[in-house]
Amino acid sequence: MKIKRRDFLKGAAGCGVLAAVGQPAYAEAKKKERLPGALGFLYDSTLCIGCQACMVGCKKANEMPVESTDLLPIWENPRDLSAKTLNVIKKFESGTGTNKDQETDGFAFIKRQCMHCVDPGCVSACPVSAMRKNPDTGVVTYNKDACIGCRYCQIACPFNIPKFQWDAAFPQIVKCQLCSHLLPKGEIPGCCSSCPTGATVFGPTTELMAEAKRRQQMEPGKYYDFPVSSIDSGKNFSQQAARYVPEIYGENEVGGTQVLMLAGVPFSKLGLPELPEKSYASTAETIQHTIYKGMIAPIVVLAGLFYFVNRSQKDKD
């Protein structure tokens, strides 16, 4: 290759700038904190009796169609979240499956729906802000008028929550929005109002966190009062405390979630992913914002490129 030294140096300098633009930055992102008005619910697997009233409550509150899966016993219908089901109770079983909330020869229930992340992957992913985090309540909502159906939210959700209407000509993304249509009316989410045992209680996340910590201090086997429906409902249910695993799921996972969970068996057994404390959204956004801060780097590079292209044309003339 015949390259003049002067040109080579200039070219190399230009490429250095280009490489710097492409260079990822490993700088630490500012961690997003829980909003003071964050709302969510606490799900306590040890209080859940698997009655699935919350699934019925959810369907009613959101006017969702019934769904059945062939070849499965009635209880297991539907098996998982789908474009028709925003909330599902699943069961873990091992060995003889006789003892509740035991890892060996036991069983336990788990509720799955949107976790309403503190730093949600879907909100970061969505190119058109169809996924939004309410600035007051922190509830993650979906706006079909903005959505282009790219499904990046599905790729970006560590919990696989957003679902897509694959069989519709004009499809939408479907997910739990914490019944945000009921909250302004002073009502609480369908799953919480329909839960008879207090396994799912609605409330501000700070109060739910305090309640979760209180439960972890309880002496297993002793009777305690557990709030029903919502943390401040005044309705209580007296129940023997179970042996909890020493973890509040959602306290730190991907930067924390507004839905919190307690259980008697490890969460990995219940199908919940093991996640780092740092959200993937903050990693992606840090890289992106470092490269494109104020669009300064791209503009500088463009000016450099203009100079090079112009020079190469002059050389030709």
């Binding site: 290759m1 903005a146 159906g149 499904r151 694959w166 499809p171």
Partner: protein
């Protein structure tokens, strides 16, 4: 410097009809997709929300369409005017590659009638890597058509148009935009987090994708130039390609150093030898990068048209596999989710590829694209 001239000859040849039939079959499945939804033709599901339409048509497709970008970088930034005859055919392939990637996005997104929302300031989300990709690709498609426009003018007026300042601006933009979105196509998968195998999940994804894209650009120029020579019975441009191909081993060394350096720093290299599908695919991906490196490191091989073509094929497969691994094979949304593209879904992809080949054939025959040295046989 040799002028570009239309190749001429009949448009309706055997290969042309073959690709036309595939395109027509694909159009049937496209009609089905728009009438009954994506699920009616595709095996994509809530676990694997992206299938081959994104992975092949967009991510691989635009990487294979980096010829125009890489050649512009060489000719204009490194000021190697001698390669100028290769720019126009590369630009043409890029133009189709990117335009059809844009069409694929339209087919893939569920709510395509809202596609203009990415341009509406009250909807745009500047935290979204995908927004940056969408805007950059949209802009680059426009830039490619503008960059190619002198060819239309020459065909219409019969005179060579002068490059003016405005076109120089678009050429510069045509180098900036792919640098931005080809790296961002790597950043996109950072959000996949725990679902993407650590063999591919790394904060260095944007850098690795960018190096790979530039490499793909030169590789595709060699690939297309060889195929054009065979297909249109033109002389091989081996001399020029031999010189050009020296760039590839240099880029491959950089690619492999960053790739393995990153894996070593993160301590994840062991996964490559776990014997599972992901580990094996990782090994295959890297073999497909190392073999062309070894071949092209030798000056004798670089002057050999067959060896050049073999390396180009290897490397294109390697680049393709790297992207399939990052977007599909290394992606595991959890137990119970499976994905293999359905027949209809595959045919829509074949249609995109066929349409690109058809358009390329028509354009080089009717417009001054390929360099005119050597007579084209009819």
């Amino acid at each position: 410097m040799s002028e570009a001239k239309p190749v001429g000859g009949k448009v309706f040849t055997g290969p042309f009809l073959f690709f036309l039939v595939i395109t027509l079959i694909g159009i049937y499945f496209l009609a089905k997709r728009f009438m009954f939804g994506i699920g009616s033709v595709s095996n994509m599901n809530d676990g694997f929300a992206w299938g081959i339409w994104i992975t092949y048509d967009v991510v691989v497709g635009t990487a294979f369409a980096c010829g125009g970008y890489s050649m512009a970088l060489l000719v204009y930034v490194f000021n190697n005017g001698e390669y100028h005859p290769l720019v126009r055919p590369a630009l043409l392939a890029s133009m189709f590659g990117y335009t059809l990637a844009g069409v694929s996005v339209f087919i893939d997104i569920g709510r395509y009638w809202h596609i203009y929302n990415v341009f509406l300031p009250w909807y745009t989300n500047f935290n979204s890597v995908l927004l940056e990709v969408a805007l950059c690709i949209a802009a680059y498609i426009a830039v490619l058509w503008i960059e190619f426009s002198p060819t239309f003018l020459e065909a219409a007026t019969g005179t060579k148009s002068k490059v003016n300042k405005l076109l120089i601006f678009f050429i510069a933009l045509g180098i900036l935009l792919p640098t931005m979105h080809q790296s961002s196509l790597g950043s996109v998968m950072i959000l996949a987090g725990n679902k993407l195998s650590p063999l591919w999940w790394t904060p260095a994804l944007p850098l690795i994708f960018l190096i790979s894209a530039v490499t793909m650009g030169y590789t595709v120029v060699i690939f297309e130039s060889t195929l054009s020579a065979l297909g249109f019975k033109r002389p091989f441009e081996t001399d020029m390609l031999a010189k050009l191909s020296l760039v590839i081993p240099i880029l491959l060394v950089i690619f492999l150093v960053v790739r393995f350096g990153d894996l070593l720093i993160r301590g994840q290299l062991g996964l490559a030898f776990s014997g599972n599908l992901q580990g094996n695919m990782f090994l295959l991906e890297n073999i497909l990068h190392i073999v062309p490196l070894v071949i092209l490191a030798s000056a004798t091989n670089r002057k050999n048209a067959k060896m050049l073509f073999l390396s180009a094929c290897c490397l294109m497969l390697g680049g393709l596999l790297f992207r399939f691994n990052t977007y599909l094979i290394g992606f595991n949304p959890g137990e119970g989710w499976n994905y293999f593209p359905a027949i209809g879904e595959q045919f829509i992809t074949y249609t995109i590829i066929s349409a690109e080949i058809l358009l390329y054939m028509i354009f080089v025959k009717k417009l001054p694209v390929l360099p005119s040295h050597g007579q084209a046989k009819v």
